[in-house]
C-alpha cells in the first residue's frame, strides 16, 4: 500500500497544473458565465499536447500506456483550477473505442475528434443495464431508434458512443455527426457502427464508466480541495464584529469537518484509481468512491458557500462555481442513490470490504 507518486507522475501533474492555471476561468470581472461550460478547443488541444487524452490506453492503440492513476492526477488539477472539459467523457468513449480496437481512438487521443458517450436518457433514471434506444441491423449496417440526453458537449461532439438494446443484450455503437436539439440526441433510424456486440457490451460499458468515475471523482477532489482552501483562508482574513471569522468556534468546528470530508475523499479517490488501474471492472470500488465523493462534495460545497456568507452566492466569486461543478459531478455516471442501490443489492457478496486483499 503506497499512496505516493513517482517522478514521472509528478512531472505530468506539474505540466497539467500549469496548463490548468493558464486555462482557468477568471472570476471577478464583468459578467461571469454560470453553469456548465462550453467546449473550449484551445484547452482541448492543450490537453492533447501533454498526452492527457491518451493516458489510460495501450500504446499499440495509440495511447500512452499509463493508467487510471495518471488520469486521476490530471483530472484533479483540472478540478482544482475550475477548468471544465469533456475529459471524463472522452475517456469513457475512448475506453469503448479501445475495447473495439477502433481506428478512431488515435483521433480522440490527438484531439482531432471529440467523441463523447450518450448515456443518460430523457425521463429515465440512470442505468447501465438497459437502454430505450433500440438497434437493428447486422454486420456493417445498423440503425438506431430512440433518444439520449442530456449529452454533455453535444454541440461540439464529432461522434457519439451510444449503448443500445440489440438482440442478445446491450451493444455499443458509434454515431457520426449526431444531431441534437437542446442537448438531446434523437435517433430516427440513424446509421450507426457497432463497436461492441451484445455479448460484451455491458462489461465494456461498465469498465468505461468506471474510468469516467475515477476522472470525475478526481476532478471533484480538486474542486473540493480548492473550495476548502478558499474557505479556510476566508475565515482567517474576513472580519466581522471587528475580529476575524476564525474567532468564532462554530465556524472553525465546521471547517474541521470539511477537512475530514476532504481527506476521506482523497484517500478513497486515490485508492479507487489504483484499484481501477488494476481491474477496470471493479465496479464495487468505483461505486463506493462515487458515494464517498458525492457525499463529501455535497458537504464541502454547501459549507463553502455558507461559511463565506453572501459573497459565496455571487457569480463573480469562484467558490459557488466549485459547488456548481460538484453538484453536477454527483449526478454524472450515476448518482449517489443509484450507486448505493447497486451496492445495497450486493451486500451478501462479501463479509467485509477488504482493501488489503
Amino acid at each position: 500500500m503506497d499512496f505516493s507518486i513517482d517522478s514521472e507522475q509528478k512531472a505530468l501533474r506539474d505540466a497539467v497544473r500549469e496548463l490548468a492555471a493558464r486555462r482557468a476561468p477568471q472570476h471577478g470581472e464583468g459578467d461571469v458565465p454560470v453553469g456548465p461550460a462550453p467546449h473550449d478547443p484551445d484547452t482541448w488541444s492543450a490537453l492533447a499536447e501533454v498526452g492527457a487524452l491518451g493516458l489510460p490506453f495501450a500504446e499499440d492503440a495509440g495511447g500512452l500506456g499509463a493508467s487510471a492513476v495518471e488520469v486521476s492526477l490530471v483530472a484533479t488539477e483540472l478540478g482544482h483550477a475550475g477548468v471544465q472539459t469533456a475529459y471524463a467523457d472522452a475517456l469513457v468513449a475512448g475506453s469503448v473505442l479501445a475495447a473495439a480496437s477502433s481506428d478512431l481512438l488515435s483521433s480522440l487521443v490527438d484531439g482531432s475528434a471529440l467523441v463523447v458517450p450518450a448515456l443518460a436518457e430523457p425521463g429515465r433514471g440512470w442505468s447501465l443495464a438497459s437502454s430505450s434506444v433500440h438497434a437493428s441491423g447486422s454486420g456493417d449496417s445498423w440503425t438506431l431508434t430512440g433518444s439520449k440526453g442530456p449529452v454533455p458537449y453535444a454541440d461540439a461532439a464529432t461522434h457519439l458512443v451510444v449503448p443500445a438494446a440489440a438482440d442478445g443484450g446491450l451493444a455499443l455503437f458509434l454515431v457520426e455527426a449526431p444531431s441534437f436539439a437542446d442537448g438531446i440526441a434523437t435517433f430516427d433510424g440513424s446509421a450507426a457502427t457497432q463497436l461492441v456486440g451484445p455479448a460484451d457490451g455491458a462489461t465494456a460499458l461498465a469498465a468505461a464508466v468506471n474510468l469516467g468515475i475515477i476522472a470525475v471523482c478526481s476532478e471533484a477532489l480538486g474542486a473540493m480541495d480548492a473550495a476548502s482552501t478558499m474557505t479556510f483562508d476566508y475565515l482567517k482574513t474576513r472580519k466581522q464584529f471587528g475580529v476575524p471569522l476564525m474567532t468564532f468556534q462554530t465556524l472553525t468546528q465546521r471547517a474541521a469537518d470539511m477537512y475530514v470530508s476532504l481527506e476521506l475523499a482523497r484517500s478513497t479517490t486515490l485508492f479507487a484509481a489504483m484499484a481501477i488501474a488494476d481491474d477496470p471492472g471493479d465496479s464495487a470500488t468505483a461505486s463506493r468512491a462515487k458515494v464517498v465523493v458525492g457525499q463529501s462534495g455535497r458537504h464541502i460545497g454547501q459549507e463553502a458557500i455558507q461559511l463565506h456568507g453572501g459573497i459565496g452566492m455571487t457569480a463573480e466569486y469562484a467558490v459557488g462555481h466549485f459547488t456548481t461543478r460538484l453538484t453536477a459531478i454527483e449526478r454524472t455516471y450515476g448518482d449517489t442513490r443509484q450507486h448505493l442501490a447497486s451496492l445495497a443489492s450486493s451486500l451478501s457478496d462479501h463479509d467485509q470490504v477488504d482493501v488489503l486483499a
Binding site: M1, D2, F3, S4, I5, Q9, V69, F232, L235, K236, P244, M246, T247, F248, Q249, T252, Q253, A255, A256, D257, Y259, V260, E263, L264, A265, R266, S267, T268, L270, F271, A273, M274, A275, D278, S287, R288, A289, V291, V292, L340, A341, L343, A344, S345, L347, S348, D351, Q352, V353, V355, L356
Partner: protein
C-alpha cells in the same frame, strides 16, 4: 502508487491472522466479540499469550520488547487482532504508561516496571481526569507535596476506566501550585492502588455496567522514586502519551467486524417481504457505512504511511473524529436492526446487548479528547484557524 500489499506485508498479514485465530482460545474471543462487560481474566490471558510471542507491545523500543515494524505493519497487526476478536493489550499499559516510562523513566523504573507492564502482571489505570479537569486537563487540582523521600498526594481523579481491576495508577499531580502557567507545575507520578489513603468508588453508567470509577487520595504517601522524569514536566509526558493514544485510535477492524455482524443480524430478522437485509432503506444504510468505513481505513493507511519515527501525524485527529463517529453509527445501526427485540436488556444475546452497547459507546466521541477537541486540533493545528 500501489494498492496491493507487498509480498512481505502479505506474509506478515497471514502470520498475524494465523496467530490470532489459532493461539488465542476461541471461547475467549467469542466472549470478547459478544461485547458487554469485559472479563479481566480474559484480558490478562490474551495479553500474556501475545507477550509470550512478542506481540503485546510492538510500538515500544525494541530493547523493551518492541518490534521494528512499519506503520503499515502496525495497522495490519491491529486490524487482524480486531478482526479475530482478540482483546487488545490493555491500553493503559501498552499505549500509555509503558511508552512514557520507556521514554522518560529512570533505568531503575524501566527495569522495575516495563516487563510486568508488558505482561499485565501490573494492571495500570489512568489518573488524569478530575471533576473539573476533563478536556481541560491542565486545570487539574490533585496535589503532591514533597515530604522527605516521599510525595504526599491529596485530591480526586475520575473516569478511571477499569480502575477496579488495577494494581497501580499513573497520575498527573500538581507539584507547583504557583507555576506561571497552569500547564507547568504538573508531575507524572506512579502510585500503588493498595497504598493507604487510596479509595476507589464505582460510577455506574447508563448501560448498567461498571466501567469507570472515582479515585480519592487522602494523604497518600508515595516514594519519591515513583515520580517519572523531572518534577513539573508532567505535562510534556502527558502530551507524549496522548499523542501515542491517537495512533491506531480509529478501531477500523472492530468497526468492520461489527458491520459484518450487523449484516448477519439483518439477514436473521424476518419482515413481511423477506429479511431486513432485503429492506432497501436498511441495505442502503449498510452500503453507505461500508463505503465510509472503507474511506476511513484508507485514510488510516495513508496517514500511517506519512507518519515517521512513530511521531503521530496531526491528521490522526481526523481518524479519532471519524473513527468514533462511524463506530457509533454502526452500533446505532445494530440497535435499529434489533428493533423491538432490543427493548429487552440483560441477556448476552446480540439483541439483549444491542441497546446497552449503543449507549455505552456514546463515550467514544467524549473520551480521549472529545470530538469538539479533535475539531479544535484540526482547525488550529492543521488549518491554521486560530481564534
Amino acid at each position: 502508487m500501489q494498492h496491493r500489499l507487498s509480498p512481505d506485508d502479505a506474509a506478515f498479514q497471514q502470520k498475524m491472522r494465523e496467530f490470532f485465530t489459532s493461539k488465542v482460545p476461541q471461547d475467549l474471543r467469542d466472549r470478547w466479540a459478544a461485547g458487554g462487560e469485559p472479563d479481566p481474566d480474559d484480558i490478562r490471558t490474551a495479553q500474556r499469550i501475545l507477550n509470550a510471542e512478542g506481540l503485546a507491545v510492538p510500538h515500544w523500543p525494541v530493547e523493551y520488547g518492541g518490534s521494528d515494524w512499519s506503520m503499515l505493519q502496525r495497522h495490519i497487526y491491529l486490524q487482524e487482532m480486531q478482526a479475530a476478536s482478540v482483546p487488545p493489550p490493555l491500553a493503559f499499559n501498552a499505549n500509555m504508561v509503558g511508552p512514557v516510562i520507556a521514554a522518560f523513566g529512570s533505568t531503575e523504573q524501566k527495569d522495575r516496571f516495563l516487563p510486568p507492564t508488558a505482561n499485565l502482571d501490573i494492571w495500570w489505570c489512568q489518573g488524569f481526569s478530575e471533576p473539573d479537569a476533563g478536556s481541560d486537563l491542565a486545570s487539574l487540582r490533585t496535589t503532591a507535596v514533597r515530604d522527605g523521600d516521599e510525595w504526599v498526594v491529596n485530591g480526586q481523579k475520575t473516569w478511571t476506566t477499569l480502575g477496579q481491576h488495577a494494581d497501580w495508577i499513573f497520575a498527573l499531580v500538581r507539584t507547583d501550585p504557583d507555576a506561571p502557567k497552569k500547564q507547568m507545575g504538573i508531575s507524572f507520578l506512579l502510585i500503588e492502588m493498595s497504598t493507604p489513603g487510596v479509595d476507589i468508588r464505582p460510577i455506574q453508567l447508563i448501560d448498567g455496567g461498571h466501567e469507570v470509577n472515582e479515585v480519592f487520595f487522602d494523604n497518600v504517601r508515595v516514594p519519591a522514586d515513583q515520580l517519572v522524569g523531572e518534577v513539573n514536566k508532567g505535562w510534556d509526558y502527558a502530551k507524549f502519551l496522548l499523542g501515542n493514544e491517537r495512533v491506531g485510535v480509529a478501531p477500523v477492524g472492530s468497526i468492520k467486524r461489527k458491520l459484518a455482524e450487523a449484516k448477519e443480524h439483518a439477514g436473521s430478522v424476518q419482515t413481511d417481504t423477506g429479511t431486513l437485509l432485503d429492506d432497501p432503506l436498511l441495505a442502503a444504510r449498510i452500503a453507505e457505512l461500508e463505503a465510509q468505513v472503507m474511506a476511513l481505513e484508507l485514510t488510516v493507511l495513508r496517514v500511517a504511511a506519512n507518519s515517521r519515527e512513530g511521531k503521530p501525524d496531526p491528521a490522526s485527529s481526523t481518524l479519532k473524529l471519524r473513527g468514533s463517529q462511524l463506530q457509533q453509527d454502526v452500533l446505532e445501526l445494530i440497535v435499529d436492526i434489533a428493533g423491538p427485540a432490543g427493548l429487552a436488556w440483560g441477556d448476552d444475546s446480540w439483541t439483549g446487548l444491542a441497546a446497552p452497547t449503543y449507549l455505552n459507546f456514546r463515550k467514544a466521541s467524549i473520551y480521549g479528547g472529545s470530538n469538539e477537541v479533535q475539531r479544535q486540533v484540526i482547525s488550529s493545528g492543521i488549518l491554521g484557524l486560530k481564534g
